[in-house]
Symmetry: C2
Subunit: 254 residues, 2 copies
DNA sequence: CGCTTAATTGAAATGGTTCAATGCCTGTGG
DNA sequence: CCACAGGCATTGAACCATTTCAATTAAGCG
């Protein structure tokens, strides 16, 4: 228990409760030592080996050998899961926000085919897979929660397939922004005036939407010109949500 | 138990053992009344409500209300899971071959956002979700098998994302053909001379690869001209597997 | 046998890429 | 405090992979 591999970079004294905790499955399952909702309640956290980690922005922080036996969850910051192509291109499969598993597949298997890069500085937490499995196997309602997480991830992947296969650059970019803002809102990370910390570079958006960063720049400029949002200094402020949603095309099975 | 909803179309006297049985998870879990490997062995099949169904080619055969409580598995024939877009386009998310769940998500939830169409005539089988869950929840090794199915499905979705986001028409089409043939080979559906029943129309390939059927026609002609395969009369014969694999680009995380 | 669906082919149009040049900002080192 | 390098964003022009449009033939199907 408590396998203390250091995933990468330096350690860090992380504050106990992090932005991701409010929506983190590990927290609601009372399996996280730090993020427990109710510190008085009976907790299973001490039965699950766990550890914290930290990665600087732009660093790759999940490697084959490191996730072999560990299930990582993001506590704060953004990450991106991607694959590299022989020609030097890459495709981002998903952005990972605070309170999310690096990948739901890693809950059940250490086999990994994606790279994960920290977009901003990232605090994460790793759980011993065997311990974790044992804890949820016993409790059906825990299992239902994990199934839900998994289904959501699959649904998001399917939505991306539709975007990449059948929708224009404008629609893809608008969808991505809407999806991210919606998820951030669920985590209470949108401030009352509608602005959000938005660490993505244009090349991230390009890699996620299957476009070039040159074209992303052009589309974003056009969106700004139309007054849909403001985006500068790593802060995004939606100005005309309805128009943005229109640009994303009809909601195709949200 | 045994909820006897008729999913659609007419009933049919299906032969007990079908092409999909050899690789069907329900069969290896001994949960299928018909497809059991070992008829003498102790089986849990009578604990799980189940029924057969049949759908004619080109029919939609999975609707919201119908999968609410049922987990469908294809026994013979091909199906396609897709979503419709407001502009009349559609995107096929996956082809479903004999021995596969309609969608792994349906194992855990009846909420559905895709349509499923029979590509060729399809025999399928439905299992009561509650019964099914109860049976696998108790047995960890069953659960591992289901997790594996789920991970495979997700991995295939991720591969499609990469194809649609970053690869050319040729690469997408070649990848699709290779993937299908590989899966068919695993089911022993490739005859010794290398030919397979291949019920897809060009518009299926187009809808799956995010292209137009016009362009699919051009690429397929070019492939044929180069002698990579023959394809006519719903039969595909790979002639130059190595060259086809080259056209698909490097294997990006198979 | 006629009617609809599927496949083929060519020509024109286009959404997005590629290439290239410029400016900006940030961090770094002298 | 300035010079310089590297990453990031912007803009315009040329290019190209794929779409769109259109016309023709071939293939199922009742």
């Amino acid at each position: 228990m408590m396998p203390q591999q250091q995933l990468s970079c330096r350690t860090f004294d992380a504050p106990a409760v992090m932005p991701g905790c409010s929506t983190c499955p590990l927290s609601s399952l009372e399996l996280c030592v730090e993020g427990r909702r109710n510190r008085e309640s009976e907790s299973h956290a001490q039965n699950v080996g766990q550890n914290t980690g930290f990665a600087l922005a732009r660093r790759v922080f999940s490697r084959q050998e490191e996730v072999r036996d560990l299930v990582p969850v993001i506590c704060s910051g953004w990450a991106a899961a991607y694959v590299n192509l022989p020609n030097g291109n890459r495709q981002i499969l998903s952005f990972i926000l605070p309170g999310e598993f690096l990948s739901a597949s890693l809950i059940f298997s250490g086999a990994q085919y994606v790279w994960v890069e920290a977009v901003s500085d990232v605090h994460y937490r790793t759980f011993d897979r065997t311990d974790f499995m044992r804890e949820i196997a016993g409790r059906p309602q825990s299992f239902a929660l994990i199934a839900e997480v998994w289904i959501k991830e699959k649904r998001r992947a399917d939505r991306l397939i539709v975007d990449l296969g059948r929708r224009t650059a404008e629609e893809r970019i608008a969808s991505l922004l809407i999806d991210l803002v919606d998820r951030l809102r669920a985590r209470d990370l949108v401030s009352p005036d509608g602005s959000v910390e938005f660490p993505l570079r244009q090349h991230h958006i390009a890699d996620a939407t299957g476009l070039t960063s040159v074209h992303v720049s052009k589309v974003l400029s056009e969106f700004r010109r139309r007054g849909l949002f403001e985006l500068s200094e790593r802060v995004l402020t939606i100005k005309d949500a309805a128009a943005l949603r229109r640009s994303a095309g009809e909601p195709h099975s949200r």
